[in-house]
Symmetry: C2
Subunit: 514 residues, 2 copies
């Protein structure tokens, strides 16, 4: 297999399963084409009905064929019922070789593994977390898995690289014309931002709702002029399961130390200031950092110009205390954030195009001051892995990791130096998810390491009480506890491609040995 070494030192095949791959060349080295792919017209006349009696009717009406691509959004996260329902219906109807393009998958989507085994699902373009990722790692899926960031996914959709035949949109509220939002109904999930690009660009769009309301369903998050069909089902999900393990605040002392160090780093680099912006996240450490940041903003009587994210009650509390002017909501992680999204005019739903697409006319991440991000591994070059565990198994998606790391003035990667017998900070990450060029700081419980390219940050920290380490020191401390980590054992087959947000390839993931 002919390969080319990319700008993070990984050897990338020139071609794989008929796809020509572009190696990653560095930040902003793959400019967009001039024009986006055009969406699809419709031709709906007065009296035409969009509301269909069943999902089967919608699938037939949209003319699904073997080999086509269907998409889903993940706002209901581990409480989503719609992806499994639609894919099982597609399987029952006898379709094969379908490409699934979810914005993310969760443990609840384990039933897809059977459909992978049966050949109903040929490939997955989108985050393949948990059991589905594990199945992919074990070589059970016939086709490739393509991993993209939130911004990269929208870029792929807008450019026509990812062609969606049918977008299935789980909608907590919808009317019979297809206007939808996630704010009301028993399955309310807040923002529906991830589904917006799908609705604009897919050949066909099907709204699936358990809360059909009179026209017009407002606010209009998904707009009727992009919707082909509406189907009512008894239940689209369990919104109590939006909050999963990844959305509960950290309590153990090590994690709280990491969060405190992130806050201190913002303070001592001057990023913490009146009018700053911050992206909050879902992980326990990130939630703790958000909470600490809120407390310091309050103490200093500062007002952040905006906090975006992954919105939780902690962000809402900062707003309610008067320490944040606006909340920009790409995902809602709890009931309090949904309630606030409904009632607070300063709390606004945003799309991943608005937030992170590297090929649009300017995304939110470009003007972000600080972001805290998780990692499964970091290496001494400052590359970050969030996709695979150290045994080589694909278990997590990219999310907004690359996008915010590139955009934010201070991107902080939060991690312990080691976990049990596993060195987190090491010579070489198992998989490069976010390239070192985008990573500003590694934040651990004992101190921070700063990317040597960020001389401005190093200068700012001189003389500060911040404990700044050389990243190799972190590696050495880790190895002292865990020994030098062994490379995972792989088979030859590449099962997954890790794209950079601009569509170039950062790394590949190979099938693990059983």
């Amino acid at each position: 297999m002919k390969t080319v070494r990319n700008a993070v030192g990984r050897d990338i095949p020139v071609e794989l399963e008929g796809r020509k791959l572009k190696p990653y060349k560095g930040l902003f080295r793959n400019p967009p084409p001039k024009r986006k792919a055009g969406g699809y017209f419709g031709y709906v006349k007065p009296g035409d009905k969009k509301l269909l009696a069943s999902l089967e009717d919608a699938i037939h009406s949209c003319k699904l064929k073997n080999g086509m691509t269907v998409s889903f959004h993940h706002h209901l996260r581990n409480g989503d019922y719609v992806t499994n329902l639609v894919m099982n219906t597609i399987a029952d109807l006898g379709f094969k070789n379908i490409t699934v393009a979810p914005s993310a998958l969760f443990p609840v989507h384990e039933p897809l593994v059977d459909l992978i085994d049966q050949g109903v699902i040929h490939s997955i373009e989108g985050s393949a977390n948990g059991p589905v990722g594990d199945a992919i790692s074990h070589g059970r899926m016939k086709g490739l898995s393509i991993l993209r960031s939130h911004g990269g996914r929208v870029r792929a959709i807008e450019s026509g690289e990812l062609k969606i035949d049918i977008a299935f949109v789980a909608a907590p509220s919808a009317d019979d014309q297809g206007n939808s939002n996630g704010m009301f109904g028993k399955s309310a999930c807040g923002s529906l931002g991830y589904a917006v690009a799908d609705s604009i660009h897919a050949r066909k769009v099907v709204i699936i709702t358990d809360n059909l309301v009179p026209y017009p369903c407002t606010p209009i998050s998904i707009s009727a002029d992009y919707v082909d069909h509406v189907v009512e089902i008894p239940c689209i999900g369990d919104n109590q399961k939006i909050v999963s393990g990844t959305t509960m605040i950290a309590t153990d002392p090590q994690k709280l130390s990491i969060a405190q160090n992130a806050l201190d780093l913002m303070v001592h680099t001057g990023i913490f200031r009146n009018g700053m912006s911050f992206q909050a996240g879902a992980g326990g450490i990130s939630l703790a950092t958000t909470k600490f940041l809120g407390e310091l903003l309050k103490e200093k009587k500062y007002v952040a110009c905006f906090i975006d994210g992954g919105v939780t009650e902690h962000v809402v509390d900062i707003y309610k205390n008067g320490n944040c002017a606006k909340i920009l909501n790409g995902q809602s992680f709890d009931v309090k954030s949904i309630e606030d999204l409904i009632s607070n005019p300063d709390h606004v739903e945003i799309t991943p195009n608005y937030y992170a697409n590297p090929w649009n006319k300017g995304s939110l991440v470009n003007i972000l001051d600080a972001v805290v991000l998780g990692a499964t591994e970091a290496d001494i070059d400052f590359n970050i892995n969030v996709n695979t565990h150290s045994d080589g198994r694909l278990l997590h998606g990219i999310g907004g990791h690359q996008d915010t790391a590139v955009g934010a003035k201070l991107s902080m990667m939060m991690m312990p130096i080691y976990r049990k017998k596993n060195a987190i900070i090491r010579d070489r990450v198992t998989t490069v998810t976010t390239p070192y060029q985008a990573v500003d700081a590694i934040v651990t419980d004992i101190g921070v390491a700063i990317n040597p390219e960020r001389k401005d940050l190093l200068k700012a920290l001189k003389g500060s009480p911040m404990k700044v380490y050389d990243i190799k020191e972190f590696r050495d401390m880790a190895y002292a506890q865990t020994g030098t980590p062994a490379e995972p054992e792989y088979k030859d087959r590449i099962v997954s491609i890790v794209q950079f947000r601009d569509g170039t390839v950062l790394d590949t993931i190979r099938q693990v040995k059983d």
Copy 2:
């Protein structure tokens, strides 16, 4: 010149100034192509600045060239300063042969006539009302004028028929990234819906604001991810002049009788009912009808499912009385409607794509129960003219006339039988703006005439107290007062094309004799 007779009996050139023209063939006889034209990517990096020091800088940065197309929206109506400012700047910079694509023009845009005479403006694709229309009628513009409805304009933009090089968006509030809305600021105009398609599809988008606010400017009506540049100027307009002659309620008895007859027609055809929908408009008669409808809804304790439009205080009053569930706002006509748009979650901004594009996946007009529309003339075939006066001069745009006439279950054309010495109802309209196939009823002060194709309406009215006339009776009454109208005297040259909303040609407008 080779012509083809279209489905309203008008002879349409097969080709005109290099454009191939499709004759109008009837409602829904010109289906869309499969795909829309794609918008334009950008490539904005962290630290890039969108805010420019001057309009000249923005024009240069957008690489304007002779022969290109620039667009404007008309939410500030007769109070708009931006169109004249930009076009004068373009003239000062020495550009020629520019096509202007406004969503509408008003008397305030009279200075454009000089630019037409100077050859700066070559053609106008968009409503050319008042003095500019008059100049076009007198053959002063070198190129063609293309008239489109609101829905037709969006269709043309989305299909690539109307290619906009630079969209200039007057924004009452904007941030330095380009997020904009019309709701706040000294020049607040409410909705910015007309500019949304321009912002999504134009090659370059320039926000012009007199109220630069901290990021993020919310609500986000125009989204930063579509904006190339932002320019701050002292004043974008005078929002006191949004309310012009066309947005004041009728007071004279004849007009009030027309409005009352429209209400009675809704009642006796069963269109007036609990849960009905209604489009309100800006004309004096339309405003009176809205007011009367509100009073009757209140009396009967009915709740309209929505009222869209052209939102005025009269619509807001209906909502506040509890007689309307939602307000869908395509244009805001007064301060009260803007205040309500800001504060009322049931009052929602909509775009003309959502509202009226015949080629999308279903527009609002398709589910509209009733609309009241004005006219300069109607003919005995039920064709309607709103573009020209009976002397042949182009003085008005199409607005949503065709769109709502096609979509609404009951489209009512409101007019007196004659005005002074001019027969309004006549054998043949000077110009066909809305084809008879879309017109349900002519409503005058003395009674109504029903399109004979609407046998259901005629049946419903049998035995009702409604005075139903044969339309020829109206013509006869008119001619008895005015004499048989003379055809306007024209020169040979065609100066304007009246498109149907689907892009086919309903009629042409010829140069008038001086």
